[in-house]
C-alpha cells in the first residue's frame, strides 16, 4: 500500500515535469509548427543558471527568476536564429537539425564551463521529506504538480483572455489571416518560443533541488516531454498535461511491478502502440484530409 502511495507521489512529481516540458513543446508547435528539438537544454539551463547565479551570492528566489528569464531569452533567440530561417516551406526539417546542433553547442559549452559533475541546488523545501507511513515526498516535489496546475490554468486563461494569447491562437490557426488583421506572426512566434522556454526552465528550476543540476540533465527529459506531447496530440494543452502526468506515474508503476532496468523500453513501446492506435495522438482531433 505504502509502495503504491510512493509511486503515485513520485510519479506525480516526475510526471509534472514531463507535462511542463511537454507544454513547452505544445506552445512552440502551435505557434510555429516546429519546435526546438533540444528543448531539454533550456530545461537544463533553468537549473544550471540558478546554481551559477547563487554562486554569485544571489539568493535562491531571485536567482531562479533570473535563470528562467535568461533561459527564456535564449529560447527566443534560438527561434529567431535557428528555427525561423529553416522553417520557411511546409514540413521542412531543417529546424530539427539546426536546433539539435545548437543543443549540442549549449550542452558542451555548459559541460566545459560548469563542469561535468552534478551540482546540488540547495532549497529549503528539499531538505527533509514529508513522511506518510513508509512513503514520503519532499515538499519541493509537491511544488511541481502545484506549479503544473497553475501553469496549465494560466496558459488556458492566457490563450482565451489576453490579446496576445488570442493573437497566438490566430497565428496558430492561419498565419496569413493573422497578418491580415495586423498581427506580426513572426514576432508572436518569437514570443511563443520565449514563453515555452520560460516553462521549460521553470520545470528545471523546480526539479533541480531534488535531482541536482548538471549539463546532461536535460537530454532524456526533453525527449520524453516531446514524446508525451506527441502522444497527447501536440495541439491540445489539456491532453499534454494529462499524458505527461500519466506517463510519469506509469513509469513508477513499471519500475515497481515490472522492471526498473527496462522501464524506458516498456514505456516507449507503450507510446508507440498508442500512437499507432491514435495516429493523431490521444487527444488530437482528426482532420479530414482534403484531396
Amino acid at each position: 500500500m505504502e509502495a503504491v502511495t510512493q509511486y503515485l507521489l513520485t510519479g506525480l512529481s516526475v510526471g509534472s515535469v514531463y507535462a511542463m516540458v511537454g507544454l513547452g513543446f505544445y506552445v512552440m508547435w502551435t505557434a510555429a509548427k516546429a519546435v526546438n528539438f533540444n528543448f531539454g537544454d533550456i530545461f537544463m539551463l533553468g537549473a544550471v543558471l540558478t546554481v551559477v547565479a547563487m554562486d554569485q551570492g544571489i539568493p535562491l528566489l531571485p536567482a531562479a527568476v533570473l535563470a528562467v528569464v535568461v533561459a527564456a531569452i535564449a529560447a527566443a533567440a534560438i527561434e529567431r536564429g535557428f528555427v525561423r530561417p529553416f522553417n520557411q516551406e511546409a514540413n521542412a526539417i531543417g529546424w530539427m537539425l539546426t536546433t539539435i546542433a545548437v543543443g549540442t553547442m549549449i550542452e558542451s559549452a555548459t559541460t566545459a564551463l560548469f563542469g561535468s559533475n552534478p551540482r546540488g541546488l540547495p532549497s529549503p523545501l528539499a531538505e527533509s521529506p514529508i513522511r506518510l507511513g513508509g512513503a514520503g515526498i519532499y515538499p519541493q516535489e509537491l511544488l511541481l504538480p502545484v506549479a503544473l496546475v497553475l501553469v496549465a490554468v494560466g496558459l488556458e486563461l492566457f490563450y482565451r483572455r489576453t490579446m496576445l494569447g488570442r493573437a497566438m491562437r490566430a497565428v496558430a490557426w492561419n498565419r496569413t489571416a493573422a497578418g491580415l488583421v495586423g498581427i506580426d506572426a513572426d514576432r508572436i512566434t518569437l514570443i511563443a518560443f520565449g514563453l515555452a522556454g520560460g516553462l521549460g526552465a521553470m520545470a528545471g528550476v523546480l526539479i533541480g533541488p531534488v535531482v541536482q543540476a548538471s549539463s546532461t540533465m536535460g537530454g532524456v527529459i526533453g525527449l520524453k516531454g516531446f514524446m508525451v506531447a506527441i502522444i497527447a496530440g501536440i495541439a491540445n494543452a489539456r491532453g499534454v498535461v494529462i499524458a505527461g502526468v500519466l506517463y510519469g506515474v506509469s513509469e513508477k508503476f513499471i519500475e515497481g511491478y515490472l522492471s526498473t532496468a527496462a522501464r524506458d523500453a516498456i514505456g516507449f513501446t507503450l507510446m508507440v502502440l498508442l500512437l499507432l492506435l491514435f495516429p493523431q495522438g490521444l487527444f488530437g482531433r482528426k482532420e479530414i484530409k482534403k484531396v
Binding site: 553547442m105 514524446m227 527496462a262 516507449f268 508507440v272 500512437l275 484531396v291
Partner: protein
C-alpha cells in the same frame, strides 16, 4: 547528359583512389597509411554504407528516421551473436546481419500507414531508444553494457580477414566492395520505377496513389532496403572491431547519421559519401579542441546548415546550374498533337455504349455533413460526361469516391462492370481509372519526364531483383516506358521541357503535363477535375480538342468543370449536382433549360440577360 557521364567518372575515380589508398606509402616511400588511417577509412566506409541506406529513406522516400543507428546496431549484434554463440562463418553471419534488420525495417515501415512527419520520426526515435535499452539490460544475451567481446576473427575460405598495416588489410577491400555495392543499390533504386515512385509518393502522395503507386508497398521496400544496408554495415563493423556494445548505436549516433545525409545532400547520389567523409573527418580533427570539441562539432554543423542548406552536393549543383545558366529558348509546340505511336494509349477501350461507370445510391458523409446524397448516375463508354453544380455541390467529393480516395458511406460504384467499393486508388488506377486534380498535383521537384514516367508505373512487370541487377526485362520495359513518355510529351507539346523540373513550368503547361501523366496509365476512364481552371481561352480550346479526340478514340471522360461554353463544346451528357444530390441529368440543352438548375445557380427571380446567366454559371 554530360552530367551523368561526369557522375560515373567521379565514381570511378573515387573507387580507384580508395583502392589505391593503402598503397600510398609504396608510392611516396613512407610507412603510410598506418593501421590508424586504414581503420579510419574503413570505419568511414562502413558508416557511409549506413548513410547511403538512410539517404534512400530520407532523400527519396522523404521519411525522416532518427532510429537508424538501431538498425545498424541490430546488424552488428546479429553478426556478433551468430559468430560468437552459434559459430556461424563470416558469410553466413553477414547474410543474417543483412536479412534480419531488413525484416525489422519492413516492420518499422508499418507505422507510415498510419502516421506521418514528426509523428513517424518520434516512432523511429522510440524504436532506437527501446533497442538500446534492451541491448544494455538484456545482459544474458547481449552481454549488457560490457557488450560482446572477443569475437572470432572472420575468415573467407580459410583466409583470415585483417585490417592492419603489419599483417594484412584484405578486410579493407571487402568493406570497399560492400560500399560500392551499396552505391550501386542506391543508384539502381533511384533510377528505376521504385525510385520514381518513392519520390512521387513523398512529393504528392495523392497523385502517386492516383497513378497506381502502392505507397505502402514502396515505403516498406524503402525501409527494408535501407535497414538491410544498415545491417550490412553493422555486420562489417562487428567483424572489424570484434567487440560490440550499445554505445556505438545510441540516439546520438542516429542523429549523426541523419546529419551526414543532410550535410552531403539528401536525395543525391554522391551526398552520402561526401557527408560521411566530411563529418567523420571533422570528428577526428576537432580532437584538437579538447573539452570544446563537441562545441566545435555543433558549430561546424550550424555553419554548414546555414551556408549549404541543400547539402554539399545540392549547393554545388545549384551553383553549377547558376554558372551555366543558359536561357535557351524552349519551344512550346501546339497540342494536342496526334502523332503516330499514341494508339497504345487508347488501345483497350470498352466497346461503345457500354456502361463504363455506374453509381447507385451513393452517399458520402463527413461526420455531420452529407457531401454526396444517394447519387445515381451512369457514364457510357466513349462519351464525355460533364459533372456540374455550384460550389460545394459535391462534385469533387463524388470524383474522389469514384477514384477511390474517399470511401462511400453507402451505395456502390461499378467501374468497367465490376463493383469497386473501397478499392484503393492505386488498384483503380491499375484497372484503368486515371484522374487529374483541381489544384494540379504534380511532383514538383521531379523532371517533367519523370512525372510522366511515374504514370507508366503499372505497366512494369520486372521485379525488384531484376531492377537492381538491371536484367534484360527491366531494361526493355524501361526503354519502352521512356519511349512512350516522350511520345506523350510530344503529344502535349512539352518535348522541349522534358528535363525541366515540373514546378518551374508555367501554369498552363502544368495542366498539360498533368494530363499527359494521367494518359501514361493508358486509362479507359479519365476523370478531369476542373482542367480548364486558370487556362486562357486559347488553351481551353486546345483542351476541348484533346478531350474530344480522346473520347472519339474510345476513352471515357468524366469532366468536372465550370466553364459553360467548354462544357457545351465537349460534353455528350451533363449531370448537375446541388447539395450533393442529382438535380438534373441530360444533354447540355436539356440541362440549361431545366428550371431547377437555374434556381440552384441564380436563386429565385434573379439573373437577367444571357450574359449574367453564363458568367454566373462560372461561379
Amino acid at each position: 547528359m554530360s552530367g551523368k557521364a561526369l557522375g560515373w567518372l567521379a565514381l570511378a575515380l573515387f573507387a580507384a583512389v580508395l583502392a589505391a589508398f593503402p598503397w600510398t606509402g609504396d608510392l611516396i616511400g613512407e610507412r603510410w597509411p598506418t593501421s590508424y588511417e586504414l581503420r579510419l577509412v574503413i570505419r568511414a566506409m562502413i558508416i557511409g554504407i549506413v548513410v547511403i541506406g538512410l539517404n534512400l529513406l530520407v532523400g527519396f522516400a522523404g521519411l525522416v528516421s532518427l532510429g537508424q543507428a538501431a538498425l545498424y546496431g541490430l546488424g552488428a549484434h546479429v553478426a556478433a551473436l551468430l559468430s560468437l554463440r552459434a559459430g556461424f562463418s563470416f558469410i553466413e553471419s553477414m547474410a543474417f546481419a543483412v536479412a534480419i534488420p531488413a525484416m525489422m525495417g519492413a516492420v518499422l515501415a508499418f507505422p507510415t500507414v498510419r502516421v506521418r512527419d514528426v509523428y513517424l520520426t518520434v516512432i523511429t526515435i522510440a524504436f532506437g531508444l527501446v533497442f538500446v535499452n534492451i541491448l544494455r539490460d538484456w545482459v544474458s544475451v547481449t552481454g549488457g553494457a560490457s557488450g560482446l567481446a572477443n569475437l572470432p576473427r572472420p575468415t573467407i575460405l580459410g583466409e583470415r580477414l585483417l585490417a592492419t598495416r603489419a599483417a594484412s588489410f584484405n578486410y579493407y577491400y571487402i568493406v570497399l566492395l560492400c560500399l560500392l555495392v551499396a552505391l550501386w543499390v542506391q543508384y539502381a533504386v533511384a533510377h528505376s520505377r521504385y525510385g520514381r515512385a518513392l519520390r512521387a509518393a513523398s512529393q504528392s502522395e495523392n497523385a502517386a496513389r492516383a497513378l497506381g503507386v502502392n505507397v505502402v508497398a514502396v515505403r516498406t521496400l524503402a525501409f527494408a532496403v535501407s535497414a538491410g544496408l544498415a545491417g550490412l554495415a553493422g555486420g562489417l563493423f562487428a567483424n572489424l572491431a570484434l567487440f560490440v556494445n550499445y554505445e556505438t548505436f545510441t540516439f546520438t549516433a542516429s542523429i549523426e547519421l541523419l546529419l551526414m545525409v543532410i550535410l552531403g545532400g539528401a536525395g543525391t547520389m554522391a551526398g552520402p559519401i561526401l557527408g560521411t567523409g566530411t563529418l567523420f573527418a571533422a570528428q577526428q580533427f576537432l580532437q584538437g579542441l579538447g573539452e570544446w570539441q563537441t562545441f566545435g562539432y555543433g558549430l561546424l554543423l550550424v555553419l554548414v546548415l546555414f551556408l549549404m542548406p541543400k547539402g554539399i552536393v545540392g549547393s554545388l549543383a545549384a551553383l553549377r546550374a547558376r554558372m551555366v545558366a543558359k536561357p535557351e529558348a524552349r519551344e512550346t509546340s501546339a497540342w494536342p498533337n496526334w502523332g503516330s505511336g499514341l494508339e497504345t494509349i487508347t488501345a483497350a477501350p470498352d466497346e461503345r455504349g457500354q456502361v463504363t461507370m455506374a453509381a447507385s445510391g451513393l452517399t458520402l458523409r463527413f461526420g455531420g455533413l452529407t457531401a454526396v446524397n444517394s447519387v445515381a448516375m451512369e457514364v457510357r463508354s466513349g462519351t464525355v460526361h460533364a459533372l456540374i453544380g455550384p460550389n460545394g455541390a459535391g462534385k469533387s467529393s463524388l470524383l474522389n469516391v469514384i477514384s477511390g480516395f474517399y470511401r462511400a458511406t453507402e451505395g456502390e460504384v461499378r467501374v468497367f462492370g465490376q463493383a469497386v467499393a473501397n478499392a484503393p486508388p492505386y488498384a483503380l488506377a491499375k484497372l484503368g481509372v486515371a484522374r487529374s486534380f483541381q489544384n494540379t498535383e504534380l511532383f514538383g521537384r521531379m523532371t517533367v519526364l519523370d512525372n510522366v514516367l511515374v504514370g507508366a508505373q503499372p505497366h512494369f512487370r520486372s521485379g525488384f531483383v531484376e531492377t537492381i541487377l538491371r536484367l534484360p526485362r527491366f531494361r526493355r520495359e524501361e526503354r519502352e516506358a521512356l519511349a512512350e513518355a516522350l511520345r506523350l510529351l510530344r503529344f502535349v507539346g512539352l518535348s522541349d521541357f522534358a528535363a525541366e523540373e515540373a514546378r518551374n513550368l508555367p501554369f498552363g503547361h502544368q495542366r498539360r503535363l498533368e494530363i499527359a501523366r494521367a494518359l501514361a496509365l493508358r486509362p479507359k476512364l479519365l476523370l478531369l477535375d476542373e482542367p480548364a481552371a486558370g487556362l486562357t481561352h486559347g488553351e481551353i480550346e486546345d483542351l476541348v480538342k484533346l478531350i474530344r479526340g480522346l473520347a472519339d478514340r474510345g476513352m471515357t471522360v468524366i469532366l468536372v468543370e465550370h466553364h459553360v461554353d467548354m462544357i457545351m463544346a465537349v460534353s455528350d451528357r451533363v449531370t448537375v449536382l446541388d447539395y450533393g444530390e442529382v438535380i438534373a441529368d441530360g444533354t447540355v440543352a436539356e440541362v440549361q433549360a431545366n428550371p431547377r438548375v437555374i434556381e440552384a445557380y441564380f436563386g429565385a427571380g434573379t439573373g437577367n440577360g444571357p450574359q449574367t446567366e453564363q458568367t454566373e454559371v462560372t461561379a
